[in-house]
């Protein structure tokens, strides 16, 4: 299988020490992979390298010829007061080169189709700020999907979502992956997200572990990645991470 993106011994820096280093990784068609790590571990830097918005300082990156990438940014980076509707946000993905300012009939149909596919067809004319967290996330997935990408890259897609919305999001991503889309996302949510993905890449500057949740969600890996001792339990075959408590942590104040 020819990888969509292949990273070989990649390092990247913002001018100081390397933020990521020794990264070698093949991203294959149809994968569903979570990049796991705490803040500052290099998750977003790695995404920037994958997206091509940051040049590695070392190593080589190979993308399949003509590879279309859809990107969903962190919701925290969005200006929710910006005067745009759902349709206008989705149409932004059709901005390359010289185009008429207004959407063509064909483009309006495509926007309606992708919004309908994500279950938010009736929200097309709504302002972004009036939507719920889950609906907002779907708008940005729609913007990425309208480019008909082979790979969807998402930065912390479940950050700030409640449990029910997070489940919906996970099911939506599973269904998109079943349709043949490769998905790579970052997360620091071990129990709510990472444990439910088929493949994980745990990073702390470099790749510490790569494989299934059973292979990656282990106390020694988590300690190296997150810098804290954690216990791993099993519930219905899924790893569940809990903080490792010292004896005196059990004592409650009187």
């Amino acid at each position: 299988m020819t990888p969509l993106i292949s990273l070989s011994d990649i390092a990247a820096t913002y001018g100081g020490p390397d933020v990521i280093r020794e990264i070698s990784w093949d991203i294959n068609p149809g994968c569903f992979t979570g990049i796991v790590g705490p803040s500052g571990s290099g998750k977003t830097t790695l995404l920037s390298v994958l997206l091509g918005t940051m040049k590695p300082s070392k190593g080589s990156i190979t993308r399949q010829k003509g590879l279309a990438i859809g990107f969903v940014p962190q919701m925290e980076s969005i200006d929710w007061n910006f005067p745009v509707t759902v349709s206008q946000v989705v149409m932004m993905a059709r901005s390359q080169g010289l185009r008429a300012p207004w959407a063509s009939k064909q483009e309006k149909l495509e926007v309606a189709k992708v919004l309908g596919r994500l279950g938010i067809g009736e929200l097309a004319d709504r302002h972004l700020r009036t939507l719920s967290g889950g609906q907002q996330q779907r708008v940005f997935i729609a913007r990425a999907l309208i480019r008909q990408p082979e790979i969807l890259i998402m930065d912390e897609p479940t950050s700030g979502l409640d449990v029910a919305t997070r489940h919906d999001m996970l099911h939506l991503l599973e269904s998109l992956q079943r349709e043949g889309l490769a998905i790579v996302l970052t997360t620091h949510d071990l129990n709510g997200m990472a444990a439910h993905l088929p493949e994980l890449v745990c990073i702390q500057g470099r790749i510490v572990a790569k494989g299934s949740p059973e292979e990656c969600i282990r106390p020694e890996v988590l300690e190296e990645v997150f810098g804290a001792r954690m216990e791993v339990l099993k519930h219905l075959g899924v790893p569940v991470v809990v903080d490792e408590l010292k004896d005196d942590d059990h004592e409650h104040p009187a």
Partner: protein, 278 residues
């Protein structure tokens, strides 16, 4: 009624009125992108930066538009470039680059004296120096701005909303930002005659801020802001004649009063988000 029509008998007033109205429309239009990008201070900075070019071109006997224009464009592109690298914030980049240029202009004029257009007029605006060539130039720049927005509407919207994702979606963000900065510099330059260095930033900021209070639709925002800018220019210029106050002052004061009224109205009225379509 005659008293209102009296100034139209003077050609200098008619030329000044046309320039003020077109300048207001131009700044209202470009200002939308500047305000939404969180760069409201850039108009203030570029106008001060252009003052450096104004001084330098005056001393070496260079054409004012060419000298100050090149200086302004270079400053704007430098700000965009420094901001993009994210080592320094946009506000700090604007402060350092443009105030340095303004200080250089003041130093040059102090050492060598002013041999070009009036110093006071450059600072506070005056309609006395407006020539027909200024009228044609400002209409030309408005045409350029409209053409840029028509042909690159989607890219401008995307890069204003989310520049990092726009880059991943194949939009040439550097080219779009550079284009916007060049048109902004040219708009500031051709507006200086009537508004002045010290107040031109307000004409970029006030119309879009008022328009934002009135609509949640991007294309309506562009139209309302442009219309408001032109209206403030027209009314302000008339007031300038009748009150014998510098034109830049009255244009900005009209905008500030309208902003206060709209803001007060919106503050007491329950907020409703208008439904909009593309």
């Amino acid at each position: 009624m005659n008293i209102l029509l009296d100034p139209f008998a003077y050609q200098f007033f008619v030329k000044g009125l046309i320039v003020a109205t077109v300048a207001g429309a131009l700044c209202g239009l470009i200002g939308v992108f500047i305000v939404l990008r969180g760069m409201s201070y850039i108009g203030h900075g570029i106008s001060h930066s252009i003052f450096g070019g104004f001084a330098a071109s005056s001393i070496i006997g260079f054409n004012f538009y060419l000298g100050a224009g090149v200086w302004g464009i270079a400053s704007a592109l430098a700000i965009a470039s420094v901001t993009r690298k994210k080592l320094v914030g946009a506000d700090a980049a604007i402060g350092v680059i443009t105030m340095g240029s303004f200080a250089l202009g003041v130093a040059l004029l102090t050492f060598f004296g002013n041999k070009g257009p009036a110093f006071d007029a450059a600072l506070f605006g005056s309609i006395l120096g407006v020539r027909w060539s200024d009228v044609y130039i400002i209409i030309g720049v408005l045409g350029l701005a409209l053409a840029m927005i028509f042909f690159f509407y989607r890219s401008l919207l995307f890069t204003t909303f989310d520049p990092e994702v726009a880059a991943t979606a194949g939009v040439n963000v550097v080219r779009i930002e550079s284009m916007l900065m060049i048109v902004l510099s040219l708009s500031t330059l051709v507006t200086l005659n009537v508004i002045g260095v010290t107040l031109v930033a307000a004409t970029l900021v006030i119309p879009p801020v008022i328009a934002r209070l009135l609509t949640a639709s991007f294309h309506k925002l562009l139209a309302i802001s442009t219309g408001l800018g032109a209206t403030f220019g027209f009314i302000g210029m008339n007031l300038s004649y009748h009150l014998d106050v510098p034109s830049g002052t009255t244009i900005v004061l009209v905008g500030a009063i309208v902003f206060t009224l709209v803001y007060a109205f919106k503050s007491v009225r329950p907020h409703r988000m208008p439904k909009v379509t593309i």
